[in-house]
């Protein structure tokens, strides 16, 4: 079924409700998993569930699936820019001490490196 004016498909109520229930179940799962100690894996599980939930909201509730290819491209481009922001920030922070390691004669350390010892 589409609207007269825009040829936009109108989502079925059953689809919206199923997405809603999935989101609620995933919220329960992520909350319960956080009480189990998985070590490093806690954050991995939490982020996988968060990405799944966000994708569901974007794809169905925000109707990305019904939009034009151009809009889809813009959405993906937004994620690419976000990854540039995160990856380049991390490139800086992870490599900041390398310059001191590469100069063993220097006893200077980056200020944030000292803080980390605390």
């Amino acid at each position: 079924m589409t609207t007269a004016a825009h040829h936009t498909p109108i989502p079925k109520v059953s689809v919206l409700v199923r997405v809603f229930l999935t989101l609620i179940v995933l919220t329960f799962v992520t909350t319960l998993v956080s009480y189990v100690d998985l070590g490093e894996w806690n954050i991995v599980v939490a982020l996988i569930i968060a990405v799944t939930k966000a994708s569901l909201v974007a794809w169905i509730f925000m109707g990305v699936r019904y939009t034009t290819s151009l809009t889809k491209l813009f959405v993906v481009a937004g994620l690419v820019w976000l990854s540039i922001l995160v990856v380049l920030t991390y490139t800086d922070y992870t490599s900041r001490n390398w310059i001191y390691q590469a100069r063993p004669w220097s006893h200077t350390k980056a200020p944030y490196f000292e803080d980390k010892a605390k």
């Binding site: 989502p11 919206l16 939490a46 813009f74 991390y90």
Partner: protein, 229 residues
């Protein structure tokens, strides 16, 4: 779907649509695609705006992991989880509101918009309660901040600064959304939105869902991943 800019010849514009068709668009479908693209462009700037805070959170969490992990037990997980559920409910009612507008159902549209506002208000109420808790426990950075594990006091304060900056910006977005929804309710009651014209409902819906997505990430990052014991 109009993937092309050139209107198809069978796109006949009815008088009901023409009222809302701006003169620089050929068809209502084209106008709608432009609206959607513009809204998403704005939302991408919002992604990067919140992305900056998420990135600084990630960097500081890596630098001061023990201090950050120790703050987890001061987060009220049941309330955070409840708020996540409340926001998901509001997203469903928003999606239903857009659907009602697309079907020209005036009364359900107003009802769903009001329900969305109700869930938004519940969220903000619970958030205010949590802020009050933090205030009582001296966990507001700068304002008499004190932390029982004194070795973490300095670095834990960074987490609480990020907590208030991120949830605060999110709450401000909720309040803006609240204002936008009020505007929609006023217009919808007058029957402004029909199957021929529902772009404002859909665009504000996109904004509302986006704010929901921000919280979907804030909840695990601030409340859940600290390693509770």
């Amino acid at each position: 779907m109009a993937d092309t800019i050139i209107p198809a010849t069978e796109d006949v514009i009815s008088p009901a649509e023409e009222v809302h068709l701006k003169h620089h668009f050929a068809t209502t479908a084209q106008q709608m695609d432009a609206d959607t693209l513009g809204m998403w462009t704005f939302l991408i700037t919002e992604v990067l705006f919140f992305g900056g805070m998420f990135a600084s959170y990630a960097v500081y969490r890596n630098l001061y992991y023990p201090a950050f992990a120790s703050t987890s037990k001061f987060m009220n997980v049941p309330l955070g989880a409840t708020n996540t559920g409340v926001l998901i409910c509001s997203s469903l009612t928003m999606a239903m509101a857009v659907r009602s507008a697309q079907l020209s159902q005036r009364k359900p549209l107003v009802r769903y918009l009001l329900l969305t506002m109700f869930f938004g208000a519940v969220f903000l109420g619970i958030k205010a309660f949590e802020y009050h808790e933090k205030w009582v426990e001296h966990l507001v950075p700068g304002f008499g901040f004190s932390y029982e594990q004194t070795q973490f006091e300095r670095n834990a304060q960074i987490l609480f600064f990020l907590y208030f900056a991120m949830t605060g910006m999110h709450a401000i977005h909720m309040i803006v959304g609240f204002g936008l929804l009020t505007y929609l309710v006023v217009k919808a009651r007058k029957g402004a939105f029909t199957e021929h014209y529902f772009a404002p409902v859909e665009m504000i819906g996109l904004y509302w869902h986006f704010v929901d997505i921000v919280w979907i990430f804030l909840f695990p990052m601030l409340y859940l991943i600290g390693g509770r014991t």
